[in-house]
Symmetry: C2
Subunit: 182 residues, 2 copies
DNA sequence: GGTAACATGTAAGCGGTTACATGATTAG
DNA sequence: CTAATCATGTAACCGCTTACATGTTACC
């Protein structure tokens, strides 16, 4: 019995669903949560979040309640049983997970032979520094992930470590090549 | 004196330009070259390539010449001096390179606490295996990259090693967590 | 004789980004 | 008093993917 209402949701819908699943939230808070956690492998804009919330509520996967702060409007959402089921089904589906990155930095590096060696080396350095910056940002988030871990959500910490490992590998590989060039 | 014709090209345009820069090519060959090299951090479809080639030729950055094989049509392109300059300028530009990934696998993993531990572990395994497969594919490409290296294009080999390092880091991190769970 | 690969394109639709619009509250 | 943050949305545009259309050559 696979959810009767669901007209197959898009990935952004599941991101919204998943974030609400981690705790009662407003659209604004969802955006913030994404920025603080999965923004290194996913982004979402307010123009996606608010229509998505409306759709998900109409589909019976979320329930929203107005809880203004003073005169400032605010609407908080939580998962319904159907929403929880839909999220779980998505996470459990056995379809192969496509892997697709889209990074202009790597593309530039690939074509770097088209410019002078010194210029190419500068590009390599820029790519390395970019990963070093991400690394610093990701490490700064660790406390939040560890706090979530203590409350039973261990996978955010795992994905954080995965991100750190990824960028560390990039930095190491760049350094190996940089030391070989000059 | 920054190229007078260029109305600022899109990333896919530069991908086409860069691929033609690596050797005289048809649209079909560009697609193949992308699949064999940068597809792990960029993709491009025929529906983008052919209009792009037309635009770039009109802008004077490429020249095309019909070279049919028998009755089978074919049009080969090469860089003009202006095209070469445009590519070099793009590669040398000092604007910060945005870093943005988009990977549903990571998103699923992030939310994995929403399902039973055994299901979450299955997800982790799926993500690990996905990287193992990429790793195998990337390693299979090594000969091509090394051939290019011998002919003076060293950066394709570099980006390949970067991709391998990235996926190896993912596999290692996944294994660390998998051994901790059961 | 049929399938896969070679080769080039067009059209429609959709999903996402950018920009815009509005208003309340807090901090400096 | 001003800027930043909180908070929610809409509209237009654009670029990309999907599907389609067409024809040739090589291979089994």
């Amino acid at each position: 019995m696979t959810g009767m209402a669901s007209a197959s949701l898009s990935p952004p819908d599941y991101v919204v669903l998943g974030m609400v699943g981690l705790g009662r939230r407003s659209g604004y808070e969802i955006k913030q949560a994404v920025e603080l956690s999965i923004r290194f492998f996913w982004t979402i804009s307010p123009a996606q979040i608010y229509p998505s919330l409306t759709r998900l509520e109409r589909a019976g996967l979320l329930t929203g309640r107005d809880e203004p702060q003073g005169r400032r409007q605010r609407r908080l959402y939580e998962l319904t049983a159907a929403g929880s089921t839909a999220l779980a089904e998505w996470l459990q589906s056995t379809e192969p997970i496509p892997f697709e990155l889209r990074d202009i930095g790597m593309v530039k590096l690939f074509f770097a032979d088209a410019v002078a060696p010194s210029q190419a080396a500068r590009l390599l350095t820029a790519v390395r520094q970019r990963s070093e910056q991400r690394l610093a940002t990701l490490r700064a988030i660790r406390p939040e992930a560890e706090a979530a871990e203590r409350q039973g959500d261990v996978y955010p910490a795992l994905t954080l470590e995965l991100g750190i490992a990824f960028h560390q590998a990039m930095v190491d590989a760049c350094e190996r090549f940089e030391s070989r060039l000059p």
